[in-house]
Symmetry: none
Subunit: 308 residues, 2 copies
Amino acid sequence: LNSPLVECVPNFAEGRDPARIEALLAAIGTVPHSTVLHVTSDTDHNRTVITFAGPPRSVLESAVRVARRASEIIDLRTADGVHPRLGALDVLPFVPLDGSTLQDCVELAHEAGHRIWHETGVPVYFYEAAALRPDRRKLEDVRRGEFELLRTAVLTDKAKHPDIGGPELHPTAGAVIVGARKFLIAYNVNLRTDDLSIARNIARSIRTSSGGLPAVKALGLSLASRGLVQVSMNLTDFETTPLDIVFSEIVRLAKQHGVEVEESELIGLAPRKAIEMAAARFLKLKDFDTERVIENRLASTEYVRNNR
Amino acid sequence: LNSPLVECVPNFAEGRDPARIEALLAAIGTVPHSTVLHVTSDTDHNRTVITFAGPPRSVLESAVRVARRASEIIDLRTADGVHPRLGALDVLPFVPLDGSTLQDCVELAHEAGHRIWHETGVPVYFYEAAALRPDRRKLEDVRRGEFELLRTAVLTDKAKHPDIGGPELHPTAGAVIVGARKFLIAYNVNLRTDDLSIARNIARSIRTSSGGLPAVKALGLSLASRGLVQVSMNLTDFETTPLDIVFSEIVRLAKQHGVEVEESELIGLAPRKAIEMAAARFLKLKDFDTERVIENRLASTEYVRNNR
């Protein structure tokens, strides 16, 4: 298995009914090679986030099937929750993994959007890298007003029309916001001090929004039970700001405060490329690429042999 | 990858002439199922290392064919380079991969050695796990004196006779050193100086044989064309002495000489575990294992699905 891989992270406006969540998982799992990696449901949000992955055509097929299933079993007129939502299947991002690019995911998102409209009658907006209009790049801009306001707004305001289908929203399933984005790594660095102000100070120094490293969101938190503090981060583009840069910069800043780094941790999974990049960059490896790893090289040779 | 696989990593005393290197690759590739994974040629070393793999019988056949081709096109009387060499095809190790053992590779090495002598007239020494005498287990012991000294030594010193064939070396192709061993990472660290004594000094400090790090062989070499020097290494057990330890120790020792590390390089391939270990250790990653890498998790999920 070394065909290109894509991840997909659909968000649904249903986080309470186990039978419905099971039906959504089943719709994804009926496609060969689509593999569910993680599920989170939240009752207050009334929202379920499913992470699945596989070869691009499998992921596309699962995405269309689960969009249809969501439109059949989730009714936005009764689906209340504190989390904003525009659709039964609310957000559908495609994320490149090994062997695929963001551009591949943009194309996959567009194909998914067309199929969802034509096969389920639910209109589609495109966001982030898949956006067709600059004012629709940010998810929060597309979703503003949510189902209740947008379903009337589209009747009179052409600027609110979906990118595909409609212009009226689906009466019970709303619209799907389909996109392509890079992999987000949840990454924490723990410091050998209980002084929260140091973690907050470092978080401020490194986060993009206060002029730090690009593609980094960071907070300082206290790990009271361990007597440590933590710089808790989302890395939204590990190719722009790789793990080793983040780690080394925090080591450097901590040293300025006279503090050592205890350890770092990945929350959930990281792409192979992020790990290989970190190793290659720390080692200053010349001409490294993923095919220098024997298992990767053998798997892709085998893939070529089996598919020619 | 269900059938047993073996890797073979022939080292040739030719790193400059593309036509000859192409001829060596062609000799390997004429055998069905033998797959070339990687080629590295170095002008200063005047050396090419080809990594190929396949089912044992295919790999054996390719090894004999490329030994013959090397003896036809490489002439050691004119093949100069900074890397020590005894043969046109200098070293021929067989390495177990999925489904094969070191003992399988010992048998394959012995069969290859017999065929090379009988079919090409180039005598053979056996080393490492394939050694027939304890004083020939180490490659550097077998190769000591190189082509120029050994071809006269064998005339008078019976202890220097090849294990198969000879006793005279082949007049232009020398002898082939055939062996079986575990996966070896060929890893070099290049220093931003042209002072060869510094590379030699660091090599001496880190190599096992002079009391340095375990499972490390190291030489100091000059990369004259680039104005750099190199600590050229074989890491014979990357789990005992991981890449990050080797790299960091050389950085530290170079700093004592007032020298910076320019880069490092993998010659050929490295196992996934070696790369992941380096990243995890540099990042001080807590609870890291290979299943934290999304592509690995997917592959093992796929494997479970296909085999239940």
